[in-house]
């Protein structure tokens, strides 16, 4: 059968061979889930979804969800549901499974069609939704059931956190910038008339009219757009800090007051254009900084959002649900397959496999039965168990992990940016110089107006514009260079921090190595049909089976699968199946021993045994392989003076092998997530600046605590969220590039600050001597900013070419 026989499912567009599809009139479906959704949509007249979605493939709605009624519980309502001013209920949800804008359209439409739903707005970019409904007409569980029925999933998040605050702040800046830019542009064309008049002659009446117009335009800029600077300098002064905001606020308002005085006096030159330009330029610089700030809130959301607030326990022989925090030690907790274990305990009934990858990074499911401990945070894959709580929620692993993570994020060292430190001194100096200039001119007998004007011109010419733009423009260049190479810096300030890094801590699995076992050696004892083994490992998702599948697929062409009977996966052992009377067994030593097959081959690699009719016919040795350019990267970074340390959860033997192979002298083995965190803390006490590189949930504590956490793009979702830098292509070359880019950017910041300081060193004495006229002040302001931007562009072009 070849590919062209495949047809697409009418709902999800995934292609399957026609023989396995469910036929329904002229439509074909891959599963009953898709069929159900298709009919649901046709019945409610929303078929146009399929034309809108085009050829986008969707996730088939095959998931079974737990009962949604706990969304109606009081505990849930008090945590997530708000009541708005009209008396309607409102909740923020994250919708899972959105692939295209048609999905957004469909969800909104379906929800709008429900009675009682007032508003459903879904953001395509981050899949977050706000739903407003009348609780008297419809319950939240019905809304969530509807979203699930059409093949998506929804879970709530607490939107009152920082994220909402950050969005509000960003919006506020948009508004302020729009006003500032609008007014400045208008003031500029009026200023052209002023300057033309300055050189060719202008009547005082016209000049006054133009001044009045500029006054009118500059007022909202100073008091609305410039409000952030007044607020900033107030908080600065409260903490006894003279910051850049104070310089900008004083400069702009003094100039503003002086210009009003000039306008009313009807003589001399007004400086309204400088007022609006200073505010606009510095505001843009500030906005660029805010734009590239990461918000931590989202991360904690993701950890918390899968936590139901209620849990099923057995009381007096009955299953009842109770609040998670009300569970006591020794209560009997019920967990069914697919659910997350929320409390630590000991199994008293039932058995099954658990996914512990969240905690250990171990990708293999772990089989547990009566008497063994279950750890909170793990997910039951196929186990329906009763267990006795050995701890309450507060003391359970999951709860500890969340609180450890919170502290780790809060404790992350903050390195003050160079520009901030510099601007403190700069602002104090300029304000002092300007005051001295004013006193000296006044004492040297000059008129009060002249002295004041020259004093003000010092502040104006000391234009903080270039200084304010120096860092944001440079970091923007750094961010875009990174983005081109598949390196995502989440916050601009991290570029500067990373340039100062002296220690690199690496995780082994998935970072230095591929994280997937590959076949190293093949021992064949008896000839057998490779098709048997190929078919046996083909359907397993286990990493070892995948490794062998890949190996056979590469070494033998034209492999065809055959249908095996009684195919069973033996948890934590391997796979067994039958083919035409032959018994096939593939798996680890335990599987062989369970079937009374004697084997005597073992070494430090992972061994896969393949037996036919209880005779071992082949043995495969597998091992995790090291990424191609690991050795080179380690050597290059060492040359840059960075100390490299490897931390791994694996045993000392494997750790040593990998470390010597890539050339790392210092390594620690058998590290738990907490150990890794403690190690990073210990290094930080030695005043080191640390980069931690990892990919799994077992690294998140360390990633959160390190000065910079770098995550492989293929890593777990939570790790990617926690990390400060994401390497999208997983390659170690990008890691080296990240160091290069951060150092170049830091150089650029230093150059830009240098340029703006040099500029000031030349123009401030001129201003103090009284040689600065309004036109020159305006030109110099733009020119210095242009120099800074130009210098940054130069670096960008150089990098893009080379």
């Amino acid at each position: 059968m070849n590919l062209s026989d495949n047809i697409a499912c009418s709902h999800c567009n995934l292609e399957f061979s026609q023989s396995v599809m469910i036929e329904d009139g002229e439509h074909f479906f891959c599963c009953n889930g898709c069929k159900g959704v298709f009919h649901l949509l046709s019945d409610s007249g929303l078929e146009s979804f399929y034309t809108k979605a085009g050829s986008t493939t969707l996730t088939p709605p095959t998931k079974q969800y737990e009962n949604s009624s706990n969304f109606n519980s009081k505990a849930f309502y008090s945590k997530f549901v708000r009541v708005n001013s009209d008396g309607f209920s409102e909740v923020s949800l994250i919708i899972e499974g959105i692939h295209c804008s048609a999905c957004v359209w469909l969800n909104e439409k379906v929800l709008h069609k429900m009675d009682g739903v007032i508003e459903a707005t879904i953001n395509y970019t981050n899949n977050k939704a706000i739903i407003v409904w009348a609780d008297s007409v419809i319950k939240l569980s019905e809304i969530i059931d509807m979203v699930r029925a059409i093949g998506y999933n929804a879970f709530p998040y607490d939107a009152t956190l920082q994220e909402a605050h950050a969005n509000k702040e960003r919006k506020e800046y948009y508004l302020r910038m729009a006003v500032a830019i609008f007014a400045s542009m208008n003031i500029m064309w009026i200023a052209i008339a002023q300057y033309a008049g300055y050189f060719t002659g202008i009547t005082q009446e016209i000049k006054t009219i133009l001044n009045l117009a500029e006054w009118f335009l500059a007022t909202p800029v100073l008091f609305y757009s410039g409000w952030v600077f007044f607020r900033g300098s107030y908080f600065g002064l409260k903490n006894h800090v003279v910051n850049m905001d104070l310089l900008v606020a004083t400069g702009a308002s003094l100039t503003y007051v002086y210009s009003i005085y000039i306008t009313l006096l009807e003589q001399g030159e007004a400086y309204f254009d400088s007022v609006s330009m200073i505010i606009t330029f510095v505001l843009i610089g500030k906005f660029l900084e805010i734009l590239s700030k990461k918000n931590v809130a989202d991360t904690l959301d993701i950890l918390g959002n899968h936590l139901p607030s209620e849990i099923n326990i057995i009381k007096e022989g009955q299953i009842v649900s109770c609040k998670l925090t009300d569970v006591l030690v020794d209560d009997i907790v019920v967990v069914s397959s697919g659910e997350r274990v929320l409390i630590d305990g000991e199994i008293i009934k039932g058995s099954g496999s658990f996914d512990e990858s969240n905690l250990t990074g171990e990708s293999e499911p772990i089989y547990k039965s009566v008497g063994e401990h279950v750890i909170s945070g793990t997910i039951s894959i196929d186990a329906d168990i009763h267990f006795r709580a050995t701890k309450d929620f507060e003391h359970s692993t999951l709860s500890n992990l969340v609180s450890l993570l919170e502290t780790a994020i809060n404790k992350k060292p903050k390195i003050q940016q160079m520009a901030n430190r510099l601007s403190e001194h700069f602002s104090t100096t300029i304000l002092a110089l300007s005051f001295v200039t004013f006193i000296v001119w006044w004492a040297w007998p000059h008129s009060f107006e002249t002295s004041l004007m020259i004093g003000i011109s010092v502040i104006v010419i000391a234009c903080p514009c270039a200084l304010a733009l120096a860092t944001p423009v440079a970091t923007l260049v750094g961010l875009s260079l990174g983005a081109k190479k598949g390196i995502l810096f989440k916050e601009a300030a991290q570029l500067e921090t990373m340039a100062k890094v002296d220690t690199l801590v690496l995780d082994k699995t998935g970072t230095l190595t591929l994280g997937k076992p590959e076949v190293l050696k093949e021992h064949i004892y008896e000839e057998f049909d490779k098709k048997l083994l190929f078919s046996l490992v083909k359907s397993s998702k286990h990493p070892v089976a995948c490794g062998i599948y890949k190996y056979i697929n590469e070494s033998n062409t034209n492999q065809e699968g055959i249908i095996l009977d009684e195919y069973t996966q033996v948890p934590a052992c391997g796979i067994s199946a039958k083919y035409m009377g032959l018994e096939l067994l593939g798996g680890n030593l335990k599987l062989m021993q369970n079937n009374n097959i004697e084997v005597d081959y073992s070494n430090e690699n992972t061994i896969f045994y393949f037996a036919i009719d209880n005779r071992v016919v082949a043995i495969y040795e597998l091992s995790d392989t090291i990424k191609s350019n690991a050795k080179e990267m380690v050597a290059n970074l060492k040359n840059r003076g960075i100390e490299i340390i490897m931390l791994t959860g694996d045993n000392a033997h494997i750790a040593q092998k990998v470390a010597t192979e890539v050339g790392i002298e210092l390594y620690m083995s058998e590290q738990t997530p907490q150990d890794k965190l403690a190690y990073i803390e210990k290094l930080q006490e030695q005043k080191r600046t640390i980069v931690m590189v990892g990919d799994g949930v077992n690294d998140i504590l360390a990633l959160a605590r390190a000065d910079i956490g770098i995550v492989m793009g293929s890593g777990s979702d939570i790790a990617v969220d926690i990390g400060d830098v994401v390497l999208l292509n997983d390659s170690l070359q990008s890691l080296e590039d990240a160091f290069k880019i951060s150092r170049t950017t830091y150089q650029l910041i230093k150059q830009n600050l240098g340029i703006s300081l040099l500029y000031n060193a030349v123009t401030i004495p001129l201003a103090m001597a009284g040689y600065i006229i309004p036109l020159i002040a305006a030109i110099s302001m733009s020119l210095s900013s242009l120099l800074v931007v130009g210098n940054s562009m130069r670096i960008k072009i150089k990098w893009t070419k080379g």
Binding site: K52, D86, G87, F88, S101, V104, W105, K109, H112, D115, G116, V117, I118, E119, N123, Y124, T125, A134, S136, V137, N167, K171, Y174, L175, A178, V179, F182, N186, I190, E205, I206, I209, L210, A213, F216, L217
Partner: protein
């Protein structure tokens, strides 16, 4: 040149610009630029159905609000 002409020209042009500025500010406050993807795809989902949908949502809101009294 007559001063009043300059005054008039300044007033008219600043007023026209201000109208555009306020329209823009209103759009930002209204959340029209919050989701760039949705904003760019807006033309795809802008038809008679959407208008009807918006009207029916408004009606629903009004009807349900009638019965509500703040406690």
């Amino acid at each position: 040149m007559d001063d009043s002409i300059i005054i008039m020209m300044l007033c008219v042009s600043i007023f026209l610009g201000a109208v555009a500025l306020f329209a823009f500010l209103w759009a930002i406050k209204n959340g029209q630029f919050d989701d760039e993807e949705k904003f760019l795809n807006a033309t795809k989902f802008d038809g008679e159905d959407e208008l009807n949908d918006a009207v029916s949502q408004e009606n629903k809101r009004r009807d349900l609000k009638k019965d509500y009294r703040p406690e």
